[in-house]
Structures are given as C-alpha cells and as structure tokens.
C-alpha cells in the first residue's frame, strides 16, 4: 500500500526547499519521498492557486521558454505565513508518527 499525504501539505513541504514551478514540485515531492508519493499533475495547479489565494504562497512569471512553446514558467515561493504553516505541518506529522518511528 502506498503512503498518502494530501497535495496541499506535500506542496508546502516541497516549497520549504525553495521556489519552484508545478512540474518541478511534483518531481521534488517524488524524490524527497523516495518515490513513495506521486502527485497527479492536474491536481497540483488548483492547489497552488488556492494556497496563493490564502496568502501562503506568492508567484511570478519567469522568462518565456522555447521548450514550453514560448510560455513562461510560473514560479511559486512560500510567504512568511506559508513557511509557518509548512513548519507547523511538519511538526504535527512528525509528532503523529514519532511512536511509529520509535522516538519520544
């Protein structure tokens, strides 16, 4: 059975490493979870927009890229509020699973 974590938490956690765009965030989540967590590409963008609307993220357009048909990438980064939320999530998850990991 593959582990589950909601997209919102996974994206916030991935953005702690630094700003990024949708496709790279999916890769980052997959890599950081050793391939255990896979986010559907189509589900990422609405969640990113919702997080931005909540003030947890901010975004900006990069330069237009030929490999994207001349379209720019949209980069997301955590706001101060977003960073706090991500850290609180991390604490809660670690606390929840501490007994299973054999830590107090």
């Amino acid at each position: 059975m593959s582990p589950t974590l909601d997209t919102r938490t996974a994206l916030l956690a991935a953005l702690i490493e630094g700003e990024s765009y949708g496709l790279e965030l999916i890769e980052r989540v997959k890599k950081n979870s050793n391939g255990a967590l896979k986010i559907q590409q189509g589900r990422v963008y609405p969640v990113l927009r919702a997080l931005e609307a909540e003030g947890l993220l901010e975004s900006y357009d990069g330069d237009p890229l030929p490999e994207r048909g001349g379209r720019p990438r949209r980069y997301y980064k955590l706001t101060a509020k977003g960073l706090r939320a991500a850290r609180e999530n991390a604490k809660a998850i670690f606390g929840l699973f501490a007994p299973a990991l054999g830590r107090a």
């Binding site: 949708g22 496709l23 559907q40 590409q41 189509g42 030929p66 490999e67 994207r68 048909g69 949209r74």
Partner: protein, 177 residues
Amino acid sequence: MAKHSPVDPKALVSHGDVPKFDNNAVFGKMDDVHGLIDHGYEEYEHEQSLVDDEDAERSYEDWVRSQSPKPEIEAIAEEIRMEVERGHLIADERGAVDTKTPEQRARALRVLDSLALILPARIATEELGDYIGDINRRAAAGQSCWKIYLRMLAAMFWTGVNAVGYFLKEIWTRKAA
C-alpha cells in the same frame, strides 16, 4: 537518409533575429523542414567525403553558414529558427535535432495550442506550458508516440477540468461580491 542531422538549432538561432511565428507555415512545412535538413546534411556529408585533409573538415554548422546565401540552406536555418522559437523543434543531448517523433509531437502541440485559445490565460500559460515542456522532454528522451499522445490527452483532460473549476470559482467570487 540521415536520422539525426547534427544541427544545433540554438547556434543557428543566435544568427540574426528570430522571425515572427507563422502558425500555419510551421505546421504545414514540418515535413519540408526535415526533408531540407536531411538533404542539406547529405550534401554536407558528400562534400566532407571528398576532403582528404582532416584539418579542412568543418562542422555541419560551419558548413551551413558557409553555404549562405544558398536559398535552400537559408530556408533550413529560417525554418529551424521558427520552430525552435515555438518549441516544436528541440535538440537532443548531442545537440542534434530529434527526428524520431517530430510529426507526433507537432500534432500534439498543435492540438494543445488550439486548446489554449479557449482556456483562461493563466491555465493556458502555466499548466499547458508545463505539459508542453513535458511532451518535448519525453520526445527528446525518445519516448514512443503513443506516450506523447497519452500525455496530450492528459493535458486536455486536466486543463479542461481545471478551467471549469476556475470559471466556477470566478462566478462564485463575483456573486459573493
């Protein structure tokens, strides 16, 4: 026929301004471009085979430039510039133009470009851009055409679903205001 003509599109693009994109011209001439590339490369190979002195050997890029203003070669460079600009032509790791699935990729990108016309700007730029980048990456990695088409269908489905969600949210927000 040369499967991979070692043209570095980026190097060619750096020569002169990238011309304005003409959608129909690029899609309609996709086969012509690859035909011209192969034809040009065959000519180059033939010329090189006649050169005895190794020092006199030239790279294909240098040869292409030395041929101008030969109309056919100019046309190759022009079409390459246009296609690279639009993202329809990409270089693989060796700097060669990938010719394995150019038609499938072009077809997929044409469908997605058409879809972009009816999508909200943000979805057309952000989501569709990521899908197009992914399709180009997969094509460059040599993935089969059905995987490229599958990716295109996924792009159509998810951007469609997200566009509906986007519009509903807009309506809801306006009503609430």
